[in-house]
Assembly symmetry: C2
Homo-oligomer: 252 residues x 2
């Protein structure tokens, strides 16, 4: 049951819409997933952390593409200029000195081969399908829904605040240096989600649009949740690795 | 590691290409998945069978759409006429007397509400992402790759031959009547896969195309495998249901 399926039925004030969007985060964001709890409790193996970093790379690498898709669909130059900061954050000035490169550093810092990670060939098919669904969503849905799907960034400073100190404290091979990806993210995410939230609240001027933006955020939470589900299914204590995917027990 | 990643490097005869495609089935088709083994061993609960039927409905309902996409992309009227049989098989003459309707009968025969199943809203996000990836594949890739992705039907008579007798024998509430979906499928699948295989072997006249059709079949096996993985993660003995999805323990 999707408890948000009719949330905007009677129309919502901007304040009430923001409240619903934040409630989506409270109940659906992936900091509620058991795998996140295991990660912050220090109970994941190095191989499980490797699998997480390797798969999440697929997500990181599609972020600037989905953001470019949003820019491509926006008619307002000021909107485009603002949104472009996101692409710059992840691609950097030469493609390899931004967020994607820092995620790669995290993956290699955990002992993975850079080419293996960059090829994405050992990622779980389920990861690719979820990430592909996200890119398709930002391509096929309205611009408003695409913008709303980015609003998980409202909640990312919280999960980063849980994840980084716990990883440093609980895993002796995790250093501040390899977690550099996360350092600028809370400030970037706050800047980006402030802009996206103001846009969504201003443009959602019918109950239908309000419901669409709520559904878009639920969808995006589903994407992130499905990525952790796939990791648990493949690499959890009762997991089995699907054919062809990264297998810590076999040479890559 | 994908053991088929370089299979066509040196070019293959049609016979050798067919051999590789059949090997993909042997190592990657979802009759190798633990959930299939549990199903045929009779060790799934009714709720687990319900979850399987409910989620698989999403796949069934997209089949005629992906086939229509293939028809839409084909320039040869004879090819289109042949491929149209697939759409007819699933949609029937009025949309609700073909394969989709028979799958719905299976789901309701297991005790599910028809509207719940048809709405697809309680399906796992991971199921939707996998099915969406299949439709996107048939939309975005070459016609040859789209056709090749259908070749899992080469293997479906085998899995149906394993599944149907086992389900009738092991689950006292499963009857021949509710398994009617499967009755015409082996003959249809053989007819369809004969045609698709001949097409693929005839058109794959370079090593690049041969590799592309092998990769397409691996991709399709990944889709089917990921669907069973998602079920096991959500409804298996150590599973947890993601937010909003069908939960046998809660009223729908």
């Amino acid at each position: 049951m999707n408890e948000f399926a009719d949330a905007a039925r009677d129309g919502l004030s901007p304040e009430a819409l923001e409240k619903v969007l934040r409630e989506v985060g409270v109940s659906r964001y992936h900091n509620r997933h058991p795998l996140h709890h295991k990660m912050t409790a220090g109970s994941l193996s190095k191989a499980q952390l490797q699998a997480w970093a390797l798969n999440r790379y697929c997500y990181q690498s599609v972020i600037p593409r989905k953001d470019a898709m949003i820019i491509a669909r926006a008619e307002d130059p000021a909107f485009r200029a603002e949104w472009r900061k996101r692409v710059e954050d992840h691609d950097g000035t030469d493609g390899w000195n931004g967020g994607i490169a820092r995620w790669l550093k995290l993956a290699t810092g955990l002992g993975l081969d850079a080419d293996l990670v960059k090829s994405q060939k050992s990622a779980l098919p389920a990861t690719r399908f979820a990430v592909g669904a996200y890119l398709s969503f930002c391509t096929d849905r309205t611009l408003l829904e695409a913008v709303a799907s980015s609003l998980t960034e409202l909640f990312s400073p919280v999960i980063i605040g849980e994840r980084v100190p716990a990883m440093l404290a609980k895993y002796d091979y995790v250093t501040e240096d390899i977690l550099e990806y996360f350092r600028p993210r809370p400030a970037q995410a706050s800047r980006d989600s402030d802009f996206a939230l103001a846009y969504v609240l201003a443009k959602s001027d019918t109950p239908e649009k309000q419901q669409a933006v709520i559904d878009a955020l639920v969808f995006k939470c589903d994407v992130l949740w499905a990525m952790l589900d796939a990791l648990e299914q493949a690499y959890g204590d009762h997991g089995h690795v699907p054919p062809g995917a990264f297998d810590p027990k076999r040479p890559q």
